[in-house]
């Protein structure tokens, strides 16, 4: 019995020892929790505040932070809406996330031209893009290709959700390449 205990303890110790060599200690990029969603009384206010915040986030590094924050916020919004099968609203949120992410290399390049070291920011954006791609890939697998969205009081709309998700993935890959070439 005691030999067994020693063996188990030994295996555990070796396991713990190996864990130190195998665990990547780098923190994974954390996307935010979903903010106010369409239909919530504060949703419109949060959208207005998002626009106002652009003026508060002055400076090129601050602008990178601003657009990254928006890109993250809206991709999570898109994901949540898709999960709740609100495809039309999700398409809008995804478009907003795409618009925000397009601005990242613009301001990053401006920061670089001001002789600011952009190594850390570049790495953060790369991690964020990876996190976005992971979400988009999971969604593209789980969602139908085409959806006919029929609202109660207006004309039905055809949403090519799969295309939109693929385009978003391609866009992010392009952004990643652009950023890494800066």
């Amino acid at each position: 019995m005691s030999k067994m205990i020693v063996k188990i303890a030994g295996i555990l110790l070796v396991g713990i020892f190996l864990l130190f060599f195998t665990i990547d200690v780098r923190a994974e990029y954390v996307l935010p929790y979903p903010s106010y969603m369409p239909g919530h009384p504060l949703y419109r206010i949060s959208r207005i505040l998002d626009n106002f915040n652009k003026w508060w986030y002055w400076g090129n590094i601050a602008r990178v932070k601003y657009y990254l924050k928006l890109a993250d916020k809206y991709i999570i919004e898109a994901k949540t809406l898709i999960e709740y099968k609100q495809y039309l609203l999700a398409a809008g949120a995804l478009a907003r996330s795409n618009n925000a992410i397009v601005s990242l290399p613009v301001y990053l390049e401006k920061a670089k031209n001001e002789s600011k070291d952009i190594t850390t920011l570049r790495s953060i954006i790369n991690d964020a893009v990876l996190a976005h791609e992971k979400i988009l890939f999971n969604l593209s697998v789980a969602t139908p290709e085409n959806i006919l969205w029929t609202p109660e009081k207006s004309q039905p709309t055809q949403i090519h959700l799969s295309d939109l998700l693929n385009q978003a993935i391609i866009l992010r890959t392009k952004i990643k390449n652009k950023i890494n070439n800066l």
Binding site: W56, Y57, W58, G59, N60, I61, A62, K65, T120, L121
Partner: protein
Amino acid sequence: MIRIYILTLISLSVFSFGFIDRNIPVDDNHLLIFLRQVLGILVYEKRLWSTLIYLVIVSLLFIFYLLCLSQSRIYYVISRYPRKFLILVSLILFISFPALSYDIFNYMTTAKVAFFHKENPYLVMPIEISNEPWLAFTRAANKVALYGPTWIAITWFPFQLGKGNLLATIYAFKFVMLINYFIMLILIYRLTNNFKNVIFFGLNPLVLIEVLVSAHNDIVMMVLAVTYLILIGYKNFKSKLIGLFFFISSVFVKGATIVLFPFLFMGRNLKLPVFQISYWLMFAIFLLTPVREELYPWYAVWFITFAALTTIKKDSMLHAFTIAMTIGLSLRHVPYLYTREYGGYGPVLRTMFTLAPPLFFGLYMQARSWLIKSTSNG
């Protein structure tokens, strides 16, 4: 005695150059290189000696200060040439290097983030501009701006005046504090019409060290707060409005003066002892500061200001208590000077050094009252 005092101030000023951080580039200035080499050994390696030197300097400054306030001959000599004397004192300390605190470098680097890198300092930490050379000697580089927008706006002037030169920027920031120190002295004199009150503030060793040597921005906040209290007392609306502007500006330097907001509604029509109430309000907020960080010596400027604005009577408890507090707070630097670290026994020792003088003062007052009682009964 005045000669000894001036010599002590010069010693303090020279001694401060030993505190030049080794990461501060002074390669183009031979005098600074020499001072750093010679005095740096004293400050960084002979720590017992540097601690003793600091203790001797602070003790001499307090002895002179107390002699001055006790209406001795020194007071009469100084009061014959008040302007010249205060200008001389402040100029000697203006030359000094900001020792005992790194806050001035934080002000400078934050100003650089805002006005040179053109980034919002409330969103971008200095450390995020990792190739910024001033990071080498900035301690709070991993924090966004710690002070309000009024202060950030004010720093535009010294930052521009420095023209990117490190040493010039340091002295430009010190110049802002010097100007505010003089404004405060003028305000105290105008409000009290008593030179003794001016001395109570202007020659307090803690004020001299924290405002003129270490260049803390608390003096700016207090100048704005006192101006607010003056203006709010006027009856016309325009003055009250400008007073409100000064109040908001003061709060947006460091926030502590927010406790003075009740005066916005009271004005001074009720004949309230405004400055006395302000003293206790600022003292209360001072006592609350350990909740956020710790009792920093320069926070004492908040209540010394109002002590200087109240009438100094013989045996004034408020003033004696303030002096005891400032002695204790000036001694807070001692454990760091000796150990060169903030942790370990530092916090306990700092608390002990801070509390000892006010406790002795309390015991002395208690013993004195017992003695008076027993004498009158007998």
